[in-house]
Amino acid sequence: MSAALPLSAASGANALLERLPVVLRDGLLGYLPESLRWIVSGLITIAALLAVFGLLFAYLTLAERKLLGRIQNRPGPNRTGWFGLLQPFADAVKALTKEDIVPREADAVLHYLAPVVLVALSLMGFAVLPFGRLLVPVELDSAVLYFFAAGAATELAVFMAGWASRNKYSLLAAMRALAQLISYELPLLLSFVPVIMLAGTLSTTEIVTAQGGWTLGFLPHWHVLTPWGFAGFVIFMIAALAESNRSPFDLPEAESELIAGHLTEYSGFKYALFFMAEYFGMCALSGMAVTLFLGGWQAPCAFLEFIPSYAWFGAKLLALLFGFIWIRATLPRLRMDQLTRLAWKFLVPLALINLGTAAFWFLTAGWSGPLQLVRWAVAVALVVVPFLLLGRRLTAGVAPRTYRYAT
């Protein structure tokens, strides 16, 4: 984690809290000989990431079950520990002690490799997320590209799992994972291109810095608060749902049709690894959405800057994760052809038009006074009108299903 950015004067009061993680790490490194410091520094970063996101994963599963329960008029897990707080650990012990079954016909090497590759790839995304003003694990010039390169490869691991299991359901899941990737990858990549256009960089830290500052002290300059940014954010989140294989796009898993898809032949800890990867992927994508559209670690109002930046990042991350769970509790799963149609006929055109909107926004940055209103009106129209037209096209002829014989 490089302490490259100087603290601004406004955050002088919270300097200690802000610096605390870095100070702790440097204090620890002070006890080591110079030659070991670079590697230990890296290891500390990795350990911190694993600890924080491992715990987040554990409690995210609990929170998801609790929230789903509440939404379905039941309490959720509440037996293990106070309010079920020990449930994740009970689950971990269960997963660890279960027998690891490998089907006789399975491709043993790929069957073994798939969960490992999946977790490794889904963890890689965390390396470039700016968690706080001073907390950036790795500064890369093309960080955004790196992030999505790592993300795209995860689907390969799902394919490996599905194919290696030698199970018809798993194979179908593998095919679906590939088809799904082909559908949503394009809108996912197109949705954040405007951000890169306007920020003029692929570096995550610089994208966050570009969203700093407030109008009148309380209106943050986050990308989501512009017309093109809002459209991009929505498209990004829809595609992110598909990328992380979450409901309503959990077609590869599809418990009701494919047993558990690529997870059918997995048990014990390998199964847990798949879940871990799913939640890591969800966290990483949410973190990326926060970075690209929600201002990263920036506080929403100037007077709230005394709260350390990583707390803001965490709060936004949790809000997005709640959104993931909320959507899972609400929407039914799409069919494969519906997903493809949604991605290619709706999201891709919208994302392409959004590029034009962003270009307009970029070119009219100098407008002020009443022209500012015109700028907003045109940009909003550029977002809303295509949405309405394409939406009408997409839903044409769709009505609640009528049944001729059943009542």
Binding site: S142, L202, T395
Partner: protein, 172 residues
């Protein structure tokens, strides 16, 4: 500095070689993905971050999917390896010819490159510089590529578009 290069080179070449020899197409495809990743690692080693990640995004992320999809859709059975046809003169000749063509292309490319002696440092190119280069001096080629891709996409849409009558029974 040389040691990582050797590891990357060996890994890339070995996975490519094994991919050629295996009779299981899926294994071959996955090993091919590994060798693509090796090439990306090589770019990374050479300091070309952007190209490396683009390589992973495009090859490991997308093209591998298309390859695997094609294999899954065309293979009759994944358990039975198709029998090797007996080598005839025609087969050997065409194989040799294909190999010679690829080799000649590669050799021309290698020989045409001026390898300057001594240690040259990698150009310190940022993504922004790359973008400026693409949109500036190389704008024409970018446009041509864009037009070709657009035409391909349009063609795909026309091929994929269903006749109006045979729409699926219920739309999303």
């Amino acid at each position: 500095m040389l040691f990582p290069f050797l590891i990357i080179a060996c890994l890339t070449l070995a996975s490519a070689a094994v991919a050629m020899m295996l009779r299981n197409l899926i294994h071959s495809a996955l090993l091919l993905v590994l060798s693509w990743a090796g090439i990306a690692a090589f770019y990374l080693w050479a300091g070309a971050e952007f190209i490396a990640f683009a390589q992973i995004l495009v090859y490991v992320g997308a093209i591998s999917m298309v390859v695997l999809f094609a294999v899954l859709l065309t293979r009759p059975s994944r358990d039975v390896d198709l029998p090797l046809p007996a080598p005839t003169v025609l087969r050997i000749a065409s194989g040799l010819m294909a190999a010679a063509m690829v080799a000649s292309v590669l050799l021309t490319a290698v020989l045409a490159t001026r390898i300057t002696g001594g240690r040259s440092h990698a150009p310190n190119l940022t993504v922004k510089d790359l973008g400026a280069l693409l949109a500036g001096p190389h704008a024409a080629s970018l446009l041509v590529v864009g037009v070709i891709l657009t035409v391909a996409l349009l063609g795909a849409i026309i091929i994929a578009a269903p006749a109006p009558a045979e729409r699926p029974e219920d739309q999303p």
